[in-house]
């Protein structure tokens, strides 16, 4: 899952980025508002005290543009008024520094779960079951061992069931923009998933991409 971290403190941003990567998130970090180039993320972690303007401004701007991107505020402002202001401006959650990495990961999970309309941290698709907290996969009552990348490709496809996802979209969800990616990495992950699960689960749409069909 791709996360956008907007944090001007380099040391804190580095720790947050590495910590989230350890939790299998793909993190893009920017240190100010003007560096934000895209909002194609599952969640945005937003610091309020940014060098080129208040983070609340960016938040309000996004909400005015009807952008539903889940946003978690990470800030040292601990006053009740600040929290109310942040939530009223459109934030989905509010975490006060110094925060715990596990708590942030849990809050990201909660926020994305609410955004996708799920009731819990499980994705069920026929005989396939994904536990998003434990990062485990069961298929036909058997636990399947998947790598982190494979798990996230499967989750990404299940999150967008019925939609055809291009190779580029899958790559964007898996890797930071700055990373060098081999040209066939997505095909390799899809191949491994078909081999470990079921050949018919992921369908290739010629010249377009991949999809997991909705169950009838």
């Amino acid at each position: 899952m791709r996360v956008l971290l907007v944090e001007d403190d380099a040391l804190l941003a580095k720790a947050t980025r590495i910590g989230l990567e350890q939790a299998h998130f793909v993190v893009d970090h920017v240190s100010c508002r003007r560096q934000v180039a895209s909002y194609d993320y599952v969640v945005m972690l937003l610091d309020l005290g940014l060098p080129d303007g208040d983070g609340l401004g960016l938040l309000q701007q996004l909400r005015q543009q009807k952008n539903p991107l889940p946003i978690i505020i990470l800030t040292a402002r601990d006053q009740v008024q600040d929290r109310i202001q942040g939530l009223q401006a459109g934030a989905d959650d509010f975490v006060i520094k110094p925060y715990d990495l596990h708590e942030v990961v849990a809050r990201i999970g909660a926020v994305t779960r609410r955004a996708s309309g799920r009731a819990d941290q499980h994705i069920q698709h026929g005989e396939l079951s994904l536990n998003l907290d434990a990062k485990t996969v069961d298929y036909r009552r058997q636990q399947i061992n998947l790598t982190s990348r494979e798990f996230h490709v499967l989750r990404f496809l299940l999150d967008h069931r019925g939609q055809i996802l291009t190779r580029q979209q899958i790559e964007d969800a898996l890797y930071p923009y700055a990373d060098e990616i081999s040209s066939n990495s997505v095909e390799v992950h899809i191949h491994h998933l078909r081999k470990k699960l079921d050949k018919t689960l992921i369908r290739t749409v010629h010249a377009m991409g991949y999809t997991i069909d909705r169950l009838p």
Partner: protein, 405 residues
């Protein structure tokens, strides 16, 4: 040289402070009631003396008219009778002791005397007045020349002498002075009793009016009393009398200043908290990164970052302590500017390697000139935003031993 002691001045100050200790309601009541009683007393005394004088004139006039009436009624009879007491006594009854009179002929023969009076003239007999005097008496019958105070039978009487037109007969008439005084005293006492009866009514009226007049002040007090202690919203001046507006405005200004002060302190505290929490958050996260390190390189890097975070926090805390000391000791420098200065300093501390010291007033930087120039430039740009004179800020950070140009 001994200080001079002014008793009058001290008494006045004491009275003033005594009055100042009273509530506005009590003060107004005391002052208004005192003034009313004083005015009432002075006017009563004045009225007493005026009425007394007027009553004296009325009594005198009545005495003179009685004398003339006696003359006009009996002159003809006097001309026909030579014997004393041949006329009927007209002074019988209750007035016999109050008014006495004698009728004398110009040659000194007593023609008539009322009951209770001897044959001795009430006042020494004198020659009839000449024409000029007679004319003057006729023009001014109430002239004091005709009146006198005499003693008859150990009583003081007010006497009056009147001559007939031909200056053949004179009437000497006298009225007891104590009875006149008694009549006047009774009348005055009656008047004073009525006025005294109105005095408490007047006091009650003053108290009620003072209470009604001070009601807006009472309402304002109640409004302020009921305002929550953390509610610094301005007091609405509606329904406040014109005279109270300046006070309400001053109160609102004070509330505004307190609010601003709280806001500035809150902002400074929030900034300080932010600057402290950020490196603490970094240390905590790097610790967790270290715990979950995927390889030895990542672990080593996390350990190094923890060390950086600790160093940065230590330095930041030291600098914050310096800032706080300055905030406490140099607050007269202008609390507004000082807090803005501290906020700017906090921001700069995060991004630069400068150190602040409070060894000299209020700060001196211990860094080479180029670094200070950079900081000065940055401060100037901040100050331009904050409307603070750049020169003031330039004086705050400078190379050791240098002067600000």
């Amino acid at each position: 040289m001994k200080p001079t002691h002014h008793k009058g001045s001290d008494a006045s100050t004491e009275q003033s402070s005594w009055l100042n200790r009273r509530s506005l309601n009590q003060r107004l009541l005391i002052l208004l009631l005192s003034a009313t009683v004083a005015v009432w007393t002075v006017s009563s005394i004045s009225i007493y003396w005026t009425v007394k004088h007027e009553a004296q004139e009325i009594f005198d006039q009545a005495l003179a008219e009685t004398a003339h009436a006696l003359l006009s009624l009996h002159v003809g009879q006097f001309q026909q009778h030579d014997e004393i007491n041949s006329l009927p006594d007209i002074t019988h009854g209750q007035h016999s002791q109050r008014i006495v009179f004698q009728i004398w002929r110009h040659d000194g023969q007593l023609l008539y005397r009322s009951t209770g009076i001897s044959s001795e003239p009430i006042i020494p007999l004198a020659a009839p007045p000449d024409d000029e005097a007679q004319d003057r008496l006729e023009e001014h019958p109430d002239s004091d020349d005709a009146y006198a105070r005499v003693n008859i039978n150990r009583e003081v009487y007010r006497s009056f002498v009147a001559w007939d037109q031909d200056r053949q007969f004179q009437v000497q008439i006298a009225e007891r002075d104590d009875i006149r005084q008694q009549i006047f005293d009774e009348t005055a006492a009656h008047l004073l009793n009525i006025a005294l009866l109105f005095l408490p009514i007047l006091a009650l009226l003053i108290m009620t009016l003072v209470k009604i007049s001070l009601r807006p002040l009472q309402q304002l007090t109640e409004r302020i009393d009921t305002q929550a202690i953390d509610d610094l919203q301005p007091i609405q001046p509606q329904q406040t009398p014109h005279e109270l507006r300046p006070m309400v405005d001053a109160l609102n200004q004070l509330l505004y200043k307190i609010n601003q002060s709280f806001e500035r302190e809150r902002r400074f505290t929030a900034n300080a908290a932010h600057e402290l929490r950020t490196p603490l958050a970094a240390i905590r996260l790097h610790t967790q990164v270290l715990q979950g390190a995927r390889n030895s390189d990542e672990a080593a890097e996390a350990a190094l970052d923890i060390q950086h975070g600790v160093d940065r926090s230590t330095r930041l805390i030291e600098q914050l302590l310096v800032l706080w000391q300055d905030l406490i000791h140099n607050i007269p420098w202008s609390s507004n500017n000082a807090l803005i200065w501290h906020s700017i300093s906090l921001k700069l501390l995060r991004n630069t390697s400068i150190s602040l010291s409070n060894n000299t007033s209020p700060y001196s930087a211990i860094h080479p000139a180029p670094k200070c120039r950079e900081i000065q430039t940055r401060l100037r740009s901040y100050c331009a935003i904050c409307w603070i004179m750049p020169s003031v800020m330039a004086a705050k950070i400078r190379p050791s031993g240098s002067t600000v140009g």
